[in-house]
């Protein structure tokens, strides 16, 4: 099922995310996904996130599909050239994967193989363009595909709380022009910024899912403030988490914060994308608090 169908029906689309392990055993991951994310529309599978080598997104998507869930296949342009990316897209389509998220990808220097050659043959925009090409039955080299071409719900990312909002919107426009169907945002902790962003992004006419992270601790938030681009946790939230460490550790504070953000932003977006970062078990509580 393509999530664009749900957007078209005007539904508030909820997705979550899982990160594959650095290994080949995913029974636990699948179990957790079935248990906590079963009620959610779709589940993203990250692609060597943060340039840390992990089990492939494509393989895990396939396993999620078999387990009855709807995966969103994330592809970055850091590790593979246009040939490999197209090949993987065809593989995904063959497996029955219908939803993708096209990203440029973090630089190799940020991960655990800093000496690796960064590819970036394509970027998020040209990757979207490439997907559209394939959907039309022709590859990027101009060669016709054999048989029915693949069809995807094509997503991309945008950072509404970034400090370079103009450049982000410019890029967003280009992604739309290149064929993007929907957007998932980087984690939002400042509803005002998100609302202001949506005022300007509305003109592109594409559905946007609000990205949320369930914060685990003040320390984690400070780390994100310093190291994760586009993510900013304001001081009052840091204080809230630091106030009662037990509640924070239990996930109660985090869920409350995330729920507040969702509630405030809800009228301005077409869905929410939850990045649980290991706290998949808290997702049901969050959804409950928000009333989904």
């Amino acid at each position: 099922m393509k999530i664009t169908e749900l957007f078209d029906r005007g539904e508030f689309v909820v997705s979550a995310e899982v990160g594959p392990p650095k290994g080949i055993h995913i029974d636990g991951l699948i179990e957790e996904a079935k248990k906590y994310l079963g009620g959610i529309t779709a589940v993203n599978v990250t692609d060597n996130q943060s340039s840390v080598m992990r089990l492939g997104s494509l393989a895990v998507c396939r396993q999620l599909l078999d387990a009855g869930l709807t995966p969103i296949y994330q592809l970055t342009c850091r590790d593979r050239n246009r040939i490999a990316l197209q090949s993987d897209l065809l593989s995904a389509a063959m497996f029955g994967i219908e939803n993708i998220l096209c990203l440029t990808g973090d630089h190799t220097s940020l991960g655990d193989h800093p000496g690796a050659k960064p590819v970036f043959d394509l970027d998020s925009v040209s990757l979207l363009h490439t997907v559209c090409q394939l959907e039309s039955g022709v590859d990027l080299g101009g060669n016709p595909l054999i048989g029915d071409p693949p069809k995807f719900a094509k997503g991309a990312v945008v950072s509404p709380c970034s400090d370079s909002i103009d450049a982000q919107l410019a890029k967003m426009e280009r992604k739309v022009l290149a064929g993007c169907d929907y957007f998932q945002t980087q984690a939002v902790f400042e509803p005002e910024k998100f609302i202001a962003f949506m005022e300007r992004a509305r003109q592109f006419g594409k559905p946007v899912q609000l990205g949320v992270i369930i914060p685990k601790s003040a320390g984690m938030c400070r780390y994100m403030n310093n190291n994760v681009a586009g993510v900013h946790v304001p001081d009052d939230m840091l204080d809230e988490l630091a106030a009662d460490k037990e509640r924070a550790k239990a996930g109660i504070t985090g869920v409350e914060i995330a729920a507040r953000v969702i509630r405030e932003c809800r009228p301005y977006c077409q869905g929410v994308h939850i990045m649980a970062l290991g706290w998949e078990s808290k997702v049901p509580a969050l959804l409950e608090q928000v009333g989904i």
Binding site: F120, D121, D123, D163, A229
Partner: protein
């Protein structure tokens, strides 16, 4: 503009033979050359009786002049098991070509600084991509100003206008956006999707 950095002591110690003839190239010293470190290293080698001779010269990438200058040192070179060259890779390859039957060792690693002519490196660079994007970026090169060489706009990694790879570097695409704004060319944002052609032939003209 090529410059050099001295290889680590461990690297050099492990690969050098008993006796070496040392050749230093000062041709690009005006840009940068690890003169002092090399001098220290050579003193050590001299003390350890490892060196049959030292020649400090310049532009050893010029094979004719290299040949002229090495003529007087032939005996010292013959006496050595190998020739240790402190120069960029072009120099080492030139020496290796000339002294065809002698083991030639590179004492340095080569780095490239932005800029082609002169001896002053530039604060911007040309990636020699062969399909100049400067028309749609207001004159700031996305191939070199962006760490990922993206040609369709910013990635999501910029923080405070700085690149995720090097926080001392401004996000190239933010700079491009500001420049386009300044010269009234924001229309360039609406250009078609750009895809690099990595197979441009250096030899074929249009």
């Amino acid at each position: 503009m090529l410059i050099t950095k001295l290889k680590s002591r461990e690297d050099l110690q492990s690969l050098l033979p008993e006796k070496v003839f040392v050749l230093l190239c000062n041709g690009c010293k005006e840009v940068s050359f690890p003169e002092q470190e090399i001098e220290e290293l050579i003193s050590e080698f001299l003390t350890a009786d490892k060196v049959t001779g030292v020649l400090t010269t310049d532009y050893i990438c010029n094979p004719e002049n290299l040949s002229l200058r090495l003529k007087r040192r032939r005996a010292m070179i013959d006496e050595a098991d190998g020739v240790l060259v402190f120069s960029c890779g072009v120099g080492v390859q030139t020496v290796s070509d000339l002294l065809d039957d002698k083991a030639v060792y590179a004492g340095c690693d080569t780095i490239r600084l932005p800029g082609f002519q002169g001896v002053t490196p530039l604060e911007y660079d040309c990636g020699q991509c062969g399909e100049c994007y400067l028309n749609i970026t207001g004159g700031i090169c996305p191939v070199t100003a962006c760490s990922k060489s993206l040609v369709n706009g910013q990635c999501g990694g910029a923080q405070n206008g700085r690149c995720e790879v090097d926080p001392n570097m401004e996000c190239g695409w933010e700079r491009i956006y500001r420049r386009l704004e300044a010269v009234g060319r924001l229309d360039a944002i609406k250009c078609p999707t750009q895809i690099r052609n990595f197979a441009i032939d250096a030899n074929k003209s249009h």
